[in-house]
Point group: C2
Chain length 438, copies 2
């Protein structure tokens, strides 16, 4: 017979106490088996949101989430008879964040294995799998054996995480989503890290977003989240480093599915928007360092090797890298109302517009429009004249244009061009770097 | 289409904001219809426990709970052609609290109508209906028409509350019970008052318990609960007064079902333990005043009229007031280990022991043993000698004695008899009186 019960565990956190190891182990296991009901877990989650968890509790909670399911092991990965080192990357989510697409094949092109187990989008940030599914033939669901083969042969894979990894976290996340208990650094950190640790990567690079388009609105919160996750990784023997990066302005010039794949291919071809290239190279440099490779990641963007990796990765999962991407049947534009300089482009407004055009889903399981999205033609620091193109909106369902325009109504600020300081309006992209001990 | 959704209402309270009238109306109604799920309501309840509600929110929440169901109306009550004034009493629950049993017929004996809609016990405090059901033939379920007749003819009734009164509160209470969200003054106050206001009484006297055997452990919390409920009553046009009374020591000399009926009959016969008599008379005085009756309630205990009312009340609900009460087949005793003075008798320990002997239930719907209970033979201030009887434990299931003894192991403190100050050890019973404006 158990020495714990749900009410006393919830009451302990409600009253501001740290949960003991055995309370955490018990409650996560009982939630997994159904002995602790959803309404009990959601009350506990709210108590955690408002009372917090200390580092030791977070570590134990993460371990319990991992223990609720399977763990993957890439220790047997070999290429040409030599062990292949795995390096993974995770972003906390931002608008226009297509970095995984050029990054995974770029890093793989240096001889590392990059197993990117990804999710689908919910709300205003897009999902990596939704983006790749706009490539004709490409499929996200890959079995474990096939995954090992692709990693050994191609080096990069982006695929759906199996439901066996941290199933308690999966159920808890669905519950948090409907109970206003997402916004908690302990719960966000343990949710991300339980999945990443269960995935069995040897090293991990985190991209922690901060700004109006991200979960974390303040740099202090973002740093705390980064530090918490880096510590959790280190505790679990995963070499972990985090970059804290700006997400008040959306990344690149596109938000959606096919449009983001297109932009990623531009980067792999040696072009693409400056901020997407900058962040891809910064994260690649961290991944190469973590994987023990001494090289400049810009090289393989310039010489085409990253593009070769991309084509191999897409083809291995049934995709045709040469097939044309789907285009929307309906487009509308938004133009500048005055001359001046763009001082602000709001990531949240852009993300919500893309979502409302059909690029994202409101509920889990809904289909998305691969053709839908937003392209913007000016970024903070750019000079514009009245009538210049600001946005192109694309969708298969033109009745969505109105709601998307509403989301963008206040998304751009244009100020008088005083002639100086214009280039500063973009602001720095990479704000901090967090490692164990920082 | 509604302008509210569950996540934004929960998030508002999570972030410490006051809920608007329309948010409260919406969320209670949506919970009643099932559009807001249990896991969402429990997250909101936890946010309310930790963030609180202001007086205006509590009043609106209470109104919304009332609006979720039916309201009773005693306005048509007549005796001898004259309107009959209704006065109700509610206790927040304590160990050995059988006060309703002598109180209702006593107050009715002065020509007032006392509709006591009561509940069944859960946990360490007993339920009034469970106690009365130990009387052979007595039944708790009475229809609305029968209730009016009994009130008009006998004046007193103790019966089960219909499920139509504040059904949202009923569902919420069941949820709070399993999610550690009971301990909230706003939620306790609105739960009690929504039921009492829906019951349609003209006046209400509250007995707010404070101490180790009560929900409220501190006098400040008890006063705040009393003030909150008195204000809610006044807002709803119910003349409400509260006594704050001590519940660290159990009331009287018995806790259980039949044993508490027996003790109540002693009080109605003009005897009984001093504290039970004192509290019965204090509450009766408040009820008579609220009902506009100028009389000393001790009179009808002494002259037998309260006992006549009791017999009529029991008989009207099928009970035989002359039938012998059930007695337990198994008894064990606990004796004093040393000479001295009892300085402490813990209500919680006694309540848990009675519960474990079978007098209470662990889950709703379980049967209780009418025969089971605890009788104590010494109270704080009483001198005892080693070997003197302290407790008699009764049950139909002797395997329960061990767990009951455990609950009592630390329930009594005996100190050296220094000869003075002994009578002070009992402490005052009535600690405060709260009316509108205090």
């Amino acid at each position: 017979m158990s020495t714990h019960d749900a009410v006393s565990v919830i009451a302990a956190k409600r009253d501001g106490h740290a949960l003991s190891d055995s309370q955490i182990d018990w409650v996560v296991d009982a939630f997994t088996t159904g002995a602790v009901a959803d309404e009990q877990m959601s009350a506990l989650a709210m108590a955690i949101v408002l009372r917090g968890m200390d580092r030791h509790e977070i570590a134990r909670w993460t371990q319990a989430m991992i223990a609720s399911g399977e763990r993957m092991d890439f220790g047997a990965l070999r290429r040409d008879g030599r062990p292949l080192r795995t390096v993974d990357k995770h972003s906390t989510g931002g608008v226009g964040d297509k970095i995984t697409l050029p990054l995974a094949p770029l890093v793989a092109s240096y001889g590392l294995a990059v197993p990117q187990l990804s999710g689908r989008g919910l709300g205003h940030t897009g999902g990596t799998l939704d983006k790749l599914e706009s490539i004709p033939g490409w499929r996200a669901d890959v079995g474990a054996a096939e995954m090992m083969t692709q990693l050994a042969e191609v080096g990069a894979i982006v695929c759906a995480a199996g439901s066996g990894l941290a199933p308690a976290d999966k159920r808890l996340y669905a519950l948090r989503d409907v109970t206003a208990t997402v916004e908690s650094i302990p719960l966000i950190a343990s949710s991300i890290m339980s999945k990443k640790i269960a995935e069995g990567t040897a090293a991990l690079v985190l991209d922690v977003k901060v700004g109006s388009g991200a979960f974390m609105k303040s740099i202090d919160d973002a740093r705390e989240l980064a530090e918490t996750m880096v510590a959790l990784g280190a505790d679990a023997g995963v070499e972990t480093v985090a970059l804290v990066t700006a997400m008040s302005t959306p990344l690149g010039l596109t938000a959606g599915n096919a449009v983001e794949v297109e932009e990623s291919i531009e980067v792999l071809a040696g072009g693409g928007p400056g901020d997407v290239v900058e962040l891809t190279l910064a994260l690649a440099a961290e991944m190469l360092a973590a994987g023990g490779v001494d090289a400049d990641p810009a090289t393989n963007l310039a010489n085409g090797r990253a593009m070769d990796s991309w084509r191999a990765m897409i083809a291995a999962q049934g995709g045709d890298p040469d097939a044309p991407l789907p285009r929307a049947d309906h487009q509308e534009t938004i133009t500048a109302e005055r001359d001046g300089v763009v001082s602000r482009l709001d990531a949240m407004g852009v993300g919500v517009a893309a979502w409302r055009l059909g690029a994202g889903r409101a509920r889990q399981g809904e289909a998305v429009q691969h053709e839908a999205g937003v392209r913007w033609h000016a970024r903070p620091g750019d000079r514009v004249r009245a009538g210049d193109l600001l946005f192109t909106l694309s969708t298969q369902t033109p009745e969505r244009f109105g709601a998307a325009r509403e989301a963008l109504a206040d998304a751009v600020t244009i100020v008088d061009d005083t002639g100086d300081g214009v280039s500063d309006l973009a602001g720095p992209l990479i704000l901090d770097r967090v490692t164990v001990g920082t």
